[in-house]
């Protein structure tokens, strides 16, 4: 059981956002999807989480097809969108409970899970604060906690650490490291040190296409560069190997 992406393509009008993307992500793998602005990372995540229908191609998410059985796929995954998306007039606790409940928890279970996640993400002091009053970083933390509360088998984190303070970022890394191997994590980020610290494998997209795929060491060997930053720049250069 794995995530098998086959020739996945999404076209907007005349712009190809994701171009015949094919790759396999193992169950429990921590996969980092890199690429410049507009490379197609968010669109890929939207396709894989059934928020958009692909123009062509398909992906089998732990046994279920995104185009044939999106409802089954949706039960397995959760997402922390690029823009933090929390309910403005609900408190931190209510936001968490709400997500737990629409994924099927009863009232009591939802309360317990909300408590656990507020603990994990250091949100206890803001339990009763409304979403609209949170600072950017707190909102981000809540947004990630909301993605985790349904205990998904696959989690998509679209630039989750934007705006987090140093401690919150390191705490999140630790949370993600603890989850490693248990659930499949697909992360996009522009912070390369994050990738070095967390990712099992890296995929680099450029203009909708997959430019490179492998572990950090493999990519280093492939490019002959030592630093991930240089690896990245070389692989996303215009005349780079396609």
């Amino acid at each position: 059981m794995e995530i098998a992406i086959k020739e996945l393509t999404k076209t907007f009008k005349d712009r190809v956002a994701v171009d015949h993307l094919s790759l396999t992500i193992g169950q429990g793998e921590f996969f980092a999807l890199l690429g410049e602005n507009g490379a197609g990372k968010t669109t890929t995540i939207k396709l894989l989480s059934c928020l958009m229908e692909p123009t062509s191609g398909d992906a089998i998410m732990l046994g279920d097809s995104i185009s044939e059985n999106p409802q089954a796929v949706k039960k397995k995954l959760n997402i922390s969108p690029q823009e933090t998306a929390v309910a403005r007039n609900l408190s931190v606790k209510e936001n968490l409970e709400f997500i737990a409940r629409i994924y099927g928890s009863d009232k009591k279970e939802a309360e317990q899970k909300a408590e656990q996640l507020m603990d994990k993400f250091d949100l206890k002091d803001w339990a009763k604060s409304k979403g609209r009053t949170l600072s950017g970083g707190l909102e981000r933390r809540l947004s990630i906690a909301m993605a985790m509360i349904s205990e998904p088998e696959i989690i998509f984190l679209d630039e989750p650490t934007v705006g987090l303070d140093v401690r919150a970022r390191l705490d999140l890394w630790q949370i993600l490291l603890d989850l490693k191997g248990q659930i499949t994590i697909i992360l996009t980020t522009h912070y390369l040190e994050e990738v070095e610290a967390l990712a099992d494998r890296i995929g680099i997209m450029h203009k909708g296409r997959l430019r490179a795929l492998g572990t950090l060491d493999e990519l280093r060997k492939q490019t002959g560069q030592a630093k991930l930053q240089d690896v990245f720049l070389q692989l996303t250069a215009e005349e780079g190997t396609g």
């Binding site: 928020l51 958009m52 949706k74 995954l77 998306a85 403005r88 997500i99 629409i102």
Partner: protein
């Protein structure tokens, strides 16, 4: 069950934004009071409470369209909708979840308007009981319009659309003047839209003229079904990107 959880969230979201709510509550009451004072100096009976109050209640429902439309529009622009679109909720769950919390709001508006009309001197009759039932049905029309606007427009556009909508619903409904006073195309158009029918049904049921309720109510129900259906269709489409 999911729909109810979602409805609960939406209820909190609406009730905790007291400004819009107050606006939608106080403005109709103010209109009721002002126009009923004018009635004494008018040569016609349009602004007498028994004609005015049933129409103003329907007018107050146009704010329900605003609340619903704004809520959905805001959920779209904050990508909150994207987050919950990736959950196992279905299109019907969403639309029930958005619509349900507006029913008690409609009920409070009815009660407030009717209560005010009584204070201003409208006589109490038993006809108010079936009238409340008919008004609940009419409120569904305005909820459906809210779902429709929220589905197809952004929260900013909903604000602009509402300005147009509220004008259409009042000018073409016979609330401020008799439609047959103008007649012609104006009246024809008004009766092709559901708003004049809604006001007619409301007035008829408050007057105890139950036979005159049915036809306009059929218009209202038919429009509700079509608008609701279109919203569901648009929503499904949006869910798939």
């Amino acid at each position: 069950m999911r729909a109810l959880t979602f409805a609960q969230r939406n209820r909190k979201e609406i009730l905790r934004d007291p400004m819009t709510l107050l606006f939608g509550m106080i403005l109709p009451l103010l209109m009721l009071w002002l126009f009923s004072m004018m009635a004494e100096n008018m040569p016609f009976d349009l602004f007498t409470l028994r004609k005015l109050a049933p129409a103003i209640i329907v007018f107050s429902f146009s704010f329900i369209t605003l609340f619903t439309g704004m809520l959905i529009g805001r959920d779209k622009s904050s990508s909150f909708l994207m987050r919950i679109f990736s959950s196992p909720m279905t299109a019907i769950d969403y639309l029930i979840g958005y619509a349900l919390p507006l029913l008690p709001v409609a009920f409070i508006q009815m009660a407030a308007c009717y209560g005010t009309a009584l204070l201003l001197g409208m006589p109490i009759t038993y006809d108010a009981i079936p009238a409340f039932g008919v008004l609940v049905i009419i409120s569904l029309l305005y909820i459906a319009f809210g779902l429709f606007f929220g589905t197809f427009f952004t929260d900013r556009q909903v604000g602009a659309m509402f300005a147009i909508f509220v004008n259409i619903t009042t000018w073409l409904s016979g609330t401020w003047f008799e439609l047959d006073m103008i007649g012609g195309i104006f009246e024809t158009v008004a009766y092709l839209l559901p708003f004049a029918h809604a006001v007619d049904a409301s007035r008829a049921v408050f007057a105890g003229d139950y036979r005159a309720v049915l036809t306009p109510l059929v218009w209202v129900i038919a429009y509700t079904a079509v608008i609701f259906g279109t919203a569901v269709w648009g929503f499904r489409k949006r869910m798939r990107g």
